[in-house]
């Protein structure tokens, strides 16, 4: 029998009231007098469970409800309805005790104090979270080792680059060694190298401490590198919750074959391949691409056809990029296929 889930969320909802702004000058004047309110269902009856040691990706377009969910999970916002049980706590009711067991990083925010040196922020956090000096030193050593913080510990936060700041923020969030880590877009705006640093670090703490991680992101490479499981949310509703592999398997309708022909004489013979709805797109000089539906034709069959017709110098078979799948999910067309 599996362990009881570390985080359990049931029918979680959050509604906001926003007022509708009318257009134009006259509308603006009327707004001052009478306001029409509109309920926004930022999160709508979301249910999921997360086991200890899991790393779960939480994705969705802007305004889908990701951050609102994180804010409720961290106890900043009180839900309109539903339940959260996280590490044995109801976040908004036992916030003080609860947050000592979690770490939070908001990618576009910082918990480090803007005008003061990074190390001062760490010292203050140590006091807030009652971390003993020994544990503090030990963890700082690990962070220095993995995140290479040493060089800018004495720099005020405002002078750090985004990547440096994010590393410091991660360290700050993990100073009290929490079993749960919430990350809201941890790699947003970072360059490739910085992203890689962050990902390596997350993998390391996940393996070393069995830290449970829930991260929201727009960057699907984050998910592919870090998470076995993803949850997709849009308009406040959970659209998919399951293994990344399953999502790919179910939704990967198309594959593509990219190939380079020997010379232009060979290239001239290509149109002969265009039957059964196969379409050849030129990519580069002598390089072509065929996107095909794998339910209609197998890879082996297609390759046989190509090789029979033209002389090929190089060949590459690729899955549909995951971005394309997610785009289809957001567009709503993939929903039926998943539940099927």
């Amino acid at each position: 029998m599996p362990d009881a889930p570390l985080i359990s969320v049931r029918d979680l909802s959050k509604h906001f009231r926003t007022f509708k702004r009318r257009e134009g000058v006259w509308g603006a004047i009327r707004n001052l007098v009478k306001r029409d309110y509109q309920a926004v269902h930022a999160v709508d009856r979301v249910t999921f469970e997360i086991q200890r040691g899991d790393m779960v990706g939480y994705i969705g377009p802007n305004g889908a409800g990701k951050s609102t969910t994180i804010k409720m999970l961290t106890g900043i916002l009180v839900p309109t309805g539903g339940e959260i049980r996280s590490n044995g706590f109801v976040p908004w009711e036992q916030r003080r005790q609860y947050v000592k067991t979690i770490g939070v990083v908001f990618g576009q925010r910082t918990q480090l104090w803007w005008d003061i040196a990074v190390v001062e922020s760490f010292k203050l956090l140590r006091k807030i979270y009652d971390v003993s000096q020994r544990d503090y030193d030990e963890r700082m050593e690990l962070f220095n080792h993995v995140l290479k913080l040493k060089d800018y510990l004495d720099t005020p936060v405002r002078k750090l680059s985004l990547g440096e700041r994010m590393r410091c923020d991660l360290a700050a969030a993990l100073l009290h060694n929490p079993p749960i880590l919430f990350l809201d877009e941890p790699t947003i705006g970072l360059d490739v190298v910085a992203k890689d640093h962050i990902r390596q670090f997350l993998k390391e703490i996940n393996q070393r401490y069995r830290t449970t991680v829930l991260l929201t992101t727009h960057d699907l490479d984050d998910i592919e590198e870090l998470c076995k499981r993803i949850m997709i949310i849009d308009h406040g509703r959970l659209l998919y919750d399951g293994p990344l592999a399953l999502l790919k398997q179910k939704l990967l309708r198309t594959k593509q074959v990219k190939f380079v022909v020997k010379d232009s004489e060979q290239a001239a013979r290509l149109p002969a391949l265009e039957n059964d709805g196969l379409k050849i797109e030129p990519v580069d000089h002598l390089t072509y691409r065929i996107v095909f539906d794998r339910t209609k034709i197998s890879v082996a069959d297609l390759l046989r056809q190509i090789l029979a017709e033209v002389e090929v110098r190089d060949l590459l078979i690729e899955d549909e990029p995951i971005e394309e799948i997610v785009k289809r999910i957001y567009a709503g067309e993939a929903l039926k296929e998943v539940s099927a």
Partner: protein
């Protein structure tokens, strides 16, 4: 609420604050240098203008000088006037501000004056009303002619065999019975509470906005809300820091003011209150301390109100527009207390700001109205408690913290 956590928040905000030059300037430097600069500056300026006016002799023209040789000689000898040669277009010259004024003696002026029982001779002054220097020149002329007139009258009285004293049958004398403290207290006392209140407010303003709306703007609010500090502790820590800066600013302004009074008393007195030049200023230490006790709940009221209001703003800039009316609402009653004739009474003792201002005025003039002091202190504390409660409640409201 946990005192340790409040202290952590407080220390963190203080450290943040002290790195910010704007705060340090507003809190420490500005109140420190404002009084000396205002008072000494005003004094300098006044002296400068006076010196300049003194040096500058007014250009006038004397028409019909031959009819009044004696007065003409006096005008020339006084040194206050520069007498220009006659010109027919003297009126035009006055209009053009080339000439300040002109005096015209009627024919046979001095002859008529010395002839017994004759008709009084006339003298015409030409000037340009509303032109300051022209009016000053005429005033100088009138003064000189007035003196001459008195001499003539005295000469006539004496020549009639009467004593010159008969011209002033009654002599009035004024004797001030109020103590020096009372006089200076009423004058200075009116203005000092005003300054303390303004500086209390000014000292609180920037930190209140920075610690709330500024925090939202920098995007650090979410993270601090997600930390192991309760919202109540967060408000208290922030509020206490705002209160501290407010009080520090007020104390520094008072010290600076006292020092200016001590080292350049006449300058300070004239510069700030327009009081008499030779006035001595002294308050008892007890009065000053009492004023501080009265200001304490007021500072709490200011700090809590500003925190509660600025938290609603999404950015520092927005907070500035929200706090504008608060500044006005506090400054108007503070100014009202300076107006003569507004005295502390049971109804006014309940009006926030005005009551503290008025009771401080009383205290500094040396009286100790215990009943009013109690009413003012209790009512202000009551308002302060309400404001603080509102500030704490604001921090519990999601629609305030996360306004979209």
């Amino acid at each position: 609420m946990n005192l340790k956590n409040i202290r952590v928040v407080y220390n963190k905000e203080r450290m943040d604050m002290l790195r910010d030059r704007r705060t340090v300037f507003n809190m420490l430097l500005f109140p420190l240098i404002m009084f000396p600069i205002i008072s000494i500056g005003f004094n300098r300026m006044e002296n400068m203008f006076r010196e300049k006016a003194k040096k500058e002799a007014a250009q006038i023209m004397v028409l019909g000088a031959a009819h009044a040789p004696e007065l003409d000689a006096r005008l020339r000898a006084s040194g206050k006037f520069e007498i220009l040669p006659l010109a027919a277009d003297f009126k035009q010259q006055i209009s053009d501000k080339k000439l300040r004024a002109a005096v015209e003696f009627s024919p046979g002026f001095e002859q008529a004056l010395h002839a017994a029982g004759g008709v009084s001779p006339t003298l015409t002054l030409y000037f340009y009303r509303t032109e300051l220097r022209s009016e000053l020149a005429v005033r100088g002329l009138e003064e000189l002619i007035g003196k001459y007139r008195t001499e003539i009258v005295q000469g006539r009285v004496v020549s009639q065999g009467m004593s010159a004293a008969s011209l002033t049958p009654v002599i009035t004398k004024e004797q001030n019975v109020a103590s020096a403290e009372k006089v200076s207290g009423v004058r200075m006392g009116a203005i000092i509470p005003y300054f303390i209140i303004i500086f209390c407010l000014m000292g609180a303003l920037h930190p209140a906005m920075d610690l709330t709306a500024g925090e939202k703007e920098r995007g650090t609010l979410e993270t601090i809300l997600a930390s192991a500090v309760s919202r109540g502790e967060l408000v208290m820590g922030k509020f206490l820091l705002v209160l501290t800066t407010s009080l520090i600013t007020a104390v520094i302004s008072l010290i600076s003011y006292s020092a200016t009074l001590k080292f350049a008393p006449s300058a300070a007195a004239r510069g700030v209150s327009g009081a008499a030049k030779d006035m001595t200023i002294h308050f008892s230490l007890q009065a000053v301390l009492m004023v501080f006790v009265m200001v304490l709940p007021l500072a709490v009221l200011f700090a809590a109100t500003l925190v509660a209001i600025s938290l609603m703003a999404r950015s520092y800039k927005e907070a500035q527009s929200y706090t504008g009316p608060i500044m006005l609402a506090a400054i108007v009653p503070a100014i009202a207390s300076i107006l003569p004739g507004i005295e502390l009474n049971p109804a006014l003792a309940l009006i926030p700001v005005l009551n503290v201002s008025l009771v401080s005025k009383e205290l500094l003039s040396g009286s100790l109205p215990w009943a009013s002091i109690a009413v003012v202190f209790i009512s202000t504390s009551f308002y302060a408690a309400i404001a603080l409660a509102i500030a704490v409640l604001q921090f519990q409201r999601e629609e305030v913290l996360f306004r979209a």
